[in-house]
Structures are given as structure tokens and as C-alpha cells.
Subunit: 148 residues, 2 copies
DNA sequence: AACGAAATTGAAATTCATTTTCAATATGGT
DNA sequence: ACCATATTGAAAATGAATTTCAATTTCGTT
């Protein structure tokens, strides 16, 4: 389950700074995890990785920082069809919209970018007088390997 | 938040029967709720309504029956952008795919049907060799009334 | 209509992710 | 360095959903 190409060291940090949000030791660790993540991570995975950078980080701080980044529109939250329980997964926001396919058997996540998704968003905005903030298209099914 | 037009009294019941699944007093109550629901309901709302039909229904039975219907592909589970906590919402399956827009301020749910959604599903299937079982497109934003 | 294997149920306990609380500590502008 | 304010950690609380297991119910067979 690869994440979008672009890694951006320091990007989240500078975004928060320019918005006047305090940077702490703990936040810096979590931000760097999110910036370099190659997978969709859940809170406990982020905690584990963050503790390798800074052993003194609590679970709640991870949740609070993820909440902050979500509110700031810097990361997106995914459910990935709840294939592995009710946990949430996170990915940094790239300008480009994409959908997530999750294999119901092996849990593999495939990302896919399509202009149809953009088109759907604009259609919805105009036809339903609804101003779109986030669109999440999640698909469950079977990947090439897992089709029987 | 209106649900698709078609009400189908006895539809779920007969589907389960023809698949050799036992009907119980409790299941009948829950099925009739799901068949006639005009809103997206969560487990506790379904429990409350089911108890009006049959006072002796437990919470677990609701969860178990919803699980059964989900596995049988007779209902769909929605998150509705988690605007009201982490609970899940349920709707009976209609043949027609549609997306859900949830207002982040007032919680209103708008449904929208589009051939783009179908097209997106087939594109994904062919281009990614992924066999689609369920597609869930959920949109968060602001409805006409709540745009500031 | 009764029998009985197999499925279903309820009640309590449990799980698991996430949130709240609040006192102690750290941040960054002055 | 000061200090108002924001952030943190630890523990407790929440809340949805699941597991467990003995008691009950269903429905095909007799």
C-alpha cells in the first residue's frame, strides 16, 4: 500500500509554524513520521514509530496531534473499509484526489487517481448546492492475487 | 436524509428464507425496521425501534443481525464522515449505487446517484485488476443552509 | 404433533480505539 | 529571564462493538 510519491521534509512543520501553532518535541517527532510514511499508518503504528525518535511520547499526544493535523487539513483520515477492525488510518494530504481500494482478504491497499473523482466532486457541488470539503471514495473487493 | 424510494415489505425475510437462514421473532422485527426505514439508522436507533415491535430484543441481537445482513449483501454500512461519533449507519441495498454527502455542521445527509460512480467502478476493476465488492463514496462539506 | 440436532438468543463481561480530565510542564512572544 | 498560554502525560472514562456460554428456539424429520 504505497503512499503518494512526494515526500516533503519539514513541510508540515513549516505549515504549522506559519499558522502560529506551537511546535513541541513530541509534535516534531509525529510530523516527521507523517511526512516520511510510505504506508497508511494507524494511531498505534504512529505511536510506535514516534517513540523510536523520542521515547517520551504518550498515546494521547498522538491522537491530539492527528486531530490537529486533520483540523488543519494537512492529513486525511481513512477507514479502509474497516478490514482490520475499527481503527483509522492516516495519510498526508497531497493536492491530488485519489481513491483507496482495500482487499477484503489480504488487506492490501491500492491507490488510484482519476479525473472522474474530480468530476464527481464538481457535479455534486453544483447539482446539489453542497460545498465539498472532503471526499472519500473507498472500495472493498479482491486484489489480483486474492481472487479465487 | 431520505432513503431510496423503494420500500419492500417482506423482501429481506424472503431473501433470508430462500437462503435457508432461520427466521426468529427478533430477526423479523429487525428486518421490518430495515425494510421500512426512511432514514439511515444506527444500531441503537434500530434497537429502540425494534423494541417497539418486540420488547424482548437485546442489543447484541441487533448487532448480530446487522452483521448477518451485511454478510448477505442485503444492507450497506455507512460512516457518514463520522460527524456524530464513530457509530455506523445502515441502509438496505438498492441495486442503484449512490453517494452520501453529510453536512459537517447540521449532520444532514443528501444522497446522489451518478453514472460517474458506476463508470469509476468499472474503470477501477479493469485498470487495476481489482474485483469490486463494495464502493462507498462519502463526502463531507456544507449543505445549502449551513454555508456561511 | 412431538423430537432433537443445530442455530440463535440474552446477559454479563470484555475488548479496543479513542476521549476526557486535570495537575505538571514546556513553549515562544515580550 | 518572565509569564501567559498551550501542551503534555497518566489515569480514568467513554462508547461502540464483540465474545462467551448456558438457556432457549427453530425447523426438518419422524
Amino acid at each position: 500500500m504505497p503512499l503518494p510519491e512526494t515526500e516533503s521534509p519539514g513541510f508540515l512543520q513549516s505549515k504549522l509554524m506559519e499558522r502560529g501553532i506551537r511546535l513541541t518535541r513530541q509534535r516534531r517527532a509525529i510530523l516527521s513520521i507523517m511526512e516520511t510514511a510510505k504506508q497508511h499508518l494507524d494511531a498505534s503504528q504512529i505511536l510506535r514509530k514516534a517513540r523510536k525518535i523520542d521515547a517520551e511520547i504518550d498515546r494521547v499526544t498522538v491522537y491530539r496531534t492527528l486531530g490537529l493535523l486533520k483540523r488543519q487539513g494537512l492529513i486525511d483520515e481513512l477507514d479502509l473499509m474497516h478490514v482490520q477492525g475499527e481503527r483509522h488510518f492516516y495519510e498526508r494530504r497531497t493536492g491530488r484526489d485519489h481513491l483507496h481500494m482495500t482487499c477484503l482478504r489480504c488487506g492490501k491497499v491500492i491507490e488510484f487517481e482519476s479525473h472522474l473523482l474530480e468530476k464527481l466532486k464538481t457535479t455534486v457541488s453544483t447539482e446539489c448546492s453542497f460545498s465539498v470539503v472532503i471526499a472519500r471514495l473507498e472500495i472493498g473487493g479482491y486484489c489480483q492475487n486474492c481472487r479465487t
